[in-house]
Structure formats: structure tokens, C-alpha cells
């Protein structure tokens, strides 16, 4: 994960020490360390899964359907078609993370500029607020339903629907941070010095808004992971037979009584990933909180 290497500039000479202080606080928080390790492992597995998965995820084996976990060669058992559950979970997690990253990237690419504009230019604020209201009126699942109706269900459409639904949240935090920064002396000084608006936004506002954007991203990713699972479960996301944690649960629903592991394990993985992100996000927010310094 590259989360830790994002530069976090802040006003004044405290810039470097602030970053070191945040990192030190994270290192001292056992929850942060554990969740970070979990996420790093998950990232490695997800990246390498096409090569390290023990079996071909599509390969059916009707002689060995519903093998329980612990079966030789199938550590986590097999499903109704005799496919290896471990391999499918590994590739499913990869797909989950991919959709989540795509979704969050979409929301940031659209949301950050709009949030900056809404906070910086008074005249844009009202228009962007109406746009935000409009987006909020379409919950991600309804958005996905609409997109699926128009363009068909797919991984991309799932990511786009989730991403669009996350835009209002990004706009909100970036807007309020921009308003805060705009009121600070060093930004005001740059404006007085005659710096152009774009320059001020790019040089002074955006770098200092990085930390709130980072925190927003760490809470958006687990939400996106859950969103992807829901959409795939309903058949609005990744299409079978491609492995996805959501579709695995959907098919496991049919034979859950016979092979409960197939219904339990993918859910545990989804929850573990989301939990690790949420825990790390909380720790990051605490570490970034300047109030943490005071008593």
C-alpha cells in the first residue's frame, strides 16, 4: 500500500515534523499496525493471485463437489461445481479491491475539483450544491440498477455507480476544508500578493487538503468493497463465472445448508478487508487530528 508515502504538507515550518509525527503516532497504535499489515498482505495476495492461486478458478470437477475445508488439495474446500474455494476467494478479493479502487478513484477525480471550486469560488457553491443534492437522490444501488438497464451489468458499471454515489461525500469534505484553508493567513497572503486562483488552489489549498482527502478515501474504500459485494450478489456487478466474493455468496445461497463454508468464508473475507480499512482509517484520522497533541 502506498497510503503512507503520500506527502502531507501543512502550513509553516512544521511540515516535515508533522508528517513524521503522524507516522510515529501510527506506528505506536497497535490497531493501526495490525490493520496495515492485514491490508499489505491482502494487497500482495490480490496482486499475485493469478499466479499463486492453487487452482484454476474456472476449472470444474464434478467428482469432488462440496468437499469440506481441509480436503487435500482444497484447503478451503470446493463449491457446487467442484471449484476450489480458496482460489476463487483470492481472485474474488482481487476483483473487490480493483472495483473499490476504481470507484474511489472515480469519486476523487470528479469530487476533488468540484469540492475545491465549491469552497473557493462563492459563485460556484450554489450550483455544485444542487449537483450534490441531485447525486444524493440516487442511491448507489438505484444508480447501478439504472446503469445496468442502460448499459448492462459489468464490473465497470458497478465501479462507476459506486464511484458516482461517493462523489457527494468527497465534495463535502474537500469543500469544508477549502473554506477552512481559505480563511488562513498564508492563503489570504497569497491572494493579496496577486497569485492566480488556480495557483493558490494548486499550491496552497490542495496540498493542505491532502490529509482530509486521504481520510475520506480510507473510509470510502471499505464502503466500496461492501457496495461491490452487494451489486455482484444481486447480479448487477461482476458476471459469473468470473470469481467475485459477491457472486460466490449468491451461488452459495442455493446450497448454504449443504456447504456452509462456501457461504461463510467469502463473507468473512469481505468483512475482514472492510474492517481493516475502517480500523486503519480511524487510526489515520486520530493520528492526523491536531487536537491529539493537546490534553
Amino acid at each position: 500500500m502506498t497510503v503512507l508515502s503520500v506527502p502531507m504538507a501543512e502550513a509553516g515550518p512544521a511540515g516535515i515534523s508533522r508528517r513524521t509525527r503522524v507516522l510515529r503516532r501510527l506506528r505506536r497504535n497497535p490497531l493501526a499496525v495490525v490493520s496495515f499489515v492485514v491490508l499489505a498482505l491482502a494487497a500482495v495476495v490480490a496482486l499475485l493471485s493469478p499466479w499463486i492461486a492453487p487452482h484454476d478458478v474456472q476449472q470444474t470437477d464434478f467428482a469432488h463437489t462440496f468437499s469440506p475445508p481441509g480436503t487435500p488439495g482444497h484447503l478451503l474446500g470446493t463449491d457446487d461445481l467442484g471449484r476450489d474455494v480458496l482460489s476463487r476467494i483470492m481472485l474474488g478479493a482481487r476483483a473487490s479491491l480493483l472495483v473499490a479502487l476504481l470507484a474511489v478513484a472515480t469519486s476523487l477525480i470528479i469530487g476533488v475539483p468540484l469540492g475545491l471550486a465549491a469552497g473557493y469560488f462563492r459563485s460556484w457553491d450554489a450550483v455544485i450544491s444542487r449537483f450534490t443534492d441531485l447525486l444524493l437522490a440516487f442511491p448507489f444501488l438505484i444508480m447501478a440498477v439504472g446503469l445496468a438497464a442502460i448499459r448492462g451489468a459489468s464490473l465497470t458499471n458497478a465501479a462507476v455507480a459506486i464511484g458516482i454515489a461517493q462523489i457527494p461525500g468527497v465534495i463535502r469534505v474537500v469543500r469544508s476544508d477549502t473554506l477552512r484553508l481559505k480563511a488562513l493567513d498564508f492563503v489570504a497572503a497569497a491572494v493579496v500578493d496577486g497569485a492566480s486562483d488556480l495557483w493558490v488552489l494548486a499550491k496552497h489549498v490542495l496540498p493542505n487538503a491532502t490529509s482530509v482527502i486521504l481520510v475520506q478515501a480510507t473510509v470510502a474504500i471499505p464502503a466500496a468493497i461492501l457496495g461491490e459485494a452487494v451489486l455482484s450478489f444481486l447480479g448487477l456487478g461482476i458476471q459469473p463465472p468470473a470469481p467475485s466474493l459477491g457472486t460466490m455468496l449468491a451461488s452459495a445461497q442455493q446450497f448454504a445448508a449443504r456447504a456452509p463454508w462456501a457461504a461463510v468464508l467469502p463473507g468473512v473475507v469481505i468483512m475482514g478487508l472492510a474492517l481493516a480499512f475502517n480500523v486503519f482509517g480511524d487510526a489515520l484520522r486520530d493520528a492526523l487530528d491536531p487536537k491529539g497533541d493537546r490534553r
Binding site: S129, R130, D133, L134, L136, A137, F138, P139, F140, L141, I142, V145, G146, A148, A149, I150, A153, A165, P222, L226, A229, V230, F233, L234, G235, L236, L249, A252, Q253, A256, A257, P260, A263, V264, P266, G267, I270, M271, A274, L275, F277, N278, V279, D282
Partner: protein, 318 residues
């Protein structure tokens, strides 16, 4: 206050108009001939022509939009391609289920979330806070449809405590209705409860360290009075707003929950429609969701102004 409400009403109306435009344009963007989509079984050229004329598809877009709004305002969402039943009557049967499910979920989530949030804030740094925080994190991270699957698997099928699926209308058999709907409502409420808990906790922590709570303590009030009258009341304003904003998530959640528990609500109707390419139904669902979201958030704003006197009486000279 009047001015605040007028502004909010105007914004809501504008958003409603814009979302109608979006849905209208979305329908135009559907693949294929909309007349074909609306035709259902009878696809003869004459029938298509009649449909085009009836729905004004031969008119310019703005006129089509005006006609569309007119029809929708009368509750005419067209006829389901699959069943031939008017979409409005499908909604009449499906909506009560979803509304009941959602209200029950909100109620449970609010009770649990506010209670745990207050507890976590008041018992700061003690085991109770850790437990509440941990549960909230899990509630936030667990895919609730999976929780639903497990609940069916272990509580309904294996233990036989609840019916695994199906529904009895409330008016027909209230006890049976509750028996069918309580488990889905709990499952649907988990995520919301976690969000409400976290918001309540941070709002309470902020309120508890505020100047007016310090005043309340300096007055010699009991901790209970300080917490309920001076901290919680102010925190509830935040919670009400959160419930309004989380409505979208709740609607999404209701769709999945109904699907898992086989509740014949709005969500099940939606998913069935997507796979049957039942465009009139999808269109009605999307428009209705947006309308519900906008209207309910306007009501939340009204409620907000009732709770918070700063909004209720603005403009009055000091």
C-alpha cells in the same frame, strides 16, 4: 424561519425537477426503441404507432418531457412489460412492505445507535467504550446481506426461530407480520446503527466538552441531567440529519434485504425488473426513490428547525 423553509423548499423542488430530467433522459438512453420497450407482447407496427402517439414519442423532447411529468404527476408510470399490470398498482402492493421494513430498521438502529453512542461517550476510555466502538466498526464493515444469509442459515433453517422467507401483510396478521419482518429489519438496521452510534458518540464527546455543558456542571446538575438535557439534546440534531442522509444507503440495503428474505417489496420488484428488462418498472423505481429521498430530507429539514431554536426563530431581532 419562513425564509429558511422557503429556501429549502425551493432547493428541494429544483432537485426534484433535475432528477426527473435525469430519469427522463435516462429512459431516452435505453437501448432500442422505447416504443418497443413499452409495447409488451403486442409488437405490431400499428400497436407501436399507437404507443408512440400515446406516449408522445413523435413529439419534440421538451414537449415529451412536459407530457411525461404530467403523466407521472397523475401516478401513471406505464404498464409493466412483463406482467401487463400498471406499474402504479404494483407499487401499491410493494411499497407498504418496504416502508414497514425501513421504518422498523430505522427505529431499531436509532435506539441501538443512540444508546451505544451515548454510552461510549460517557464511559470514555473504559471497557464499555471499547466494546461499543468495536461493535460499531464491525457493524460498519460487515456485508449485511451476508449477515442475512447466515441468519437464515442458522436462526431460521437450523434453529427454526424465524421464517426463512415470505411475508404476511400487517393488517391481516400483525403478529405473523412482525415475526416475518423483525429479522430482516434487524439485519437492515445493523449498518445504520453503526453509523448512528459513531455520529452520536462524536457529537456527544463534542457536546460534553462544550462550554454550555461546563456551565451545566458548574450549576451543580446531576450527571444524568447534564447528559440528557444539555448534551444529548444537542447531539440529536446531528443524528436526525444523519438518518436523512443515510436514507439512500437504507434504500439500497432494503433492496438486498428483501431479495434475501423473499419479501415482496419494492426492492424485489426492482431486481426482478432489471433482469426482465422491465423498463417502465425500473424508471418508476428510480424516479420514486429520488422523490422519496428529496421529500424525506425536506421533512428532516423541517424537523431540524423544530428541534433547533436557532433555526426556528432566526430573523427575530435580538
Amino acid at each position: 424561519m419562513a425564509r429558511y423553509l422557503l429556501t429549502r423548499a425551493w432547493h428541494s423542488a429544483l432537485t426534484l425537477l433535475l432528477s426527473t430530467v435525469v430519469v427522463f433522459l435516462g429512459v431516452r438512453a435505453l437501448p432500442g426503441d422505447p416504443a418497443l420497450a413499452l409495447a409488451g407482447e403486442d409488437r405490431s407496427p400499428e400497436a407501436l404507432e399507437a404507443i408512440r402517439h400515446h406516449y408522445g414519442l413523435d413529439q419534440p423532447l421538451p414537449i415529451q418531457f412536459a407530457q411525461y411529468v404530467g403523466r407521472v404527476a397523475q401516478g401513471d408510470f406505464g404498464v409493466s412489460i412483463r406482467t401487463g399490470i400498471p406499474v402504479s398498482s404494483m407499487l401499491t402492493t410493494a411499497l407498504p412492505v418496504t416502508v414497514e421494513l425501513s421504518l422498523l430498521a430505522i427505529l431499531l438502529a436509532a435506539a441501538l445507535g443512540v444508546g451505544a453512542g451515548v454510552l461510549a461517550a460517557v464511559r470514555r476510555g473504559r471497557p464499555a467504550e471499547w466494546l461499543a466502538n468495536g461493535l460499531a466498526l464491525v457493524g460498519l464493515s460487515v456485508p449485511h446481506f451476508w449477515l442475512g444469509l447466515l441468519a437464515i442459515l442458522y436462526l431460521s433453517v437450523a434453529a427454526g426461530l424465524f421464517p426463512a422467507s415470505g411475508f404476511v401483510p400487517l393488517l391481516q396478521d400483525p403478529a405473523g407480520n412482525l415475526h416475518h419482518i423483525v429479522l430482516p429489519a434487524v439485519i437492515l438496521g445493523t449498518g445504520l446503527a453503526a453509523i448512528i452510534m459513531r455520529q452520536t458518540r462524536s457529537a456527544m464527546l463534542e457536546a460534553l466538552s462544550s462550554d454550555h455543558v461546563r456551565t451545566a456542571k458548574a450549576k451543580g446538575l446531576r450527571p444524568r441531567a447534564v447528559i440528557t438535557r444539555h448534551a444529548l439534546r444537542n447531539s440529536l440534531i446531528v443524528v436526525v440529519t444523519i438518518v436523512g442522509l443515510q436514507l439512500g444507503g437504507l434504500i439500497s440495503g432494503a433492496v438486498v434485504t428483501e431479495q434475501i428474505f423473499g419479501l415482496p417489496g419494492f426492492g424485489k420488484m426492482t431486481i426482478d425488473a432489471v433482469f426482465q428488462r422491465d423498463y417502465p418498472v425500473i424508471q418508476a423505481v428510480v424516479l420514486l426513490t429520488a422523490t422519496a429521498y428529496i421529500v424525506i430530507n425536506f421533512l428532516v429539514d423541517l424537523l431540524y428547525s423544530v428541534i433547533d431554536p436557532r433555526i426556528r426563530v432566526t430573523g427575530e431581532p435580538a
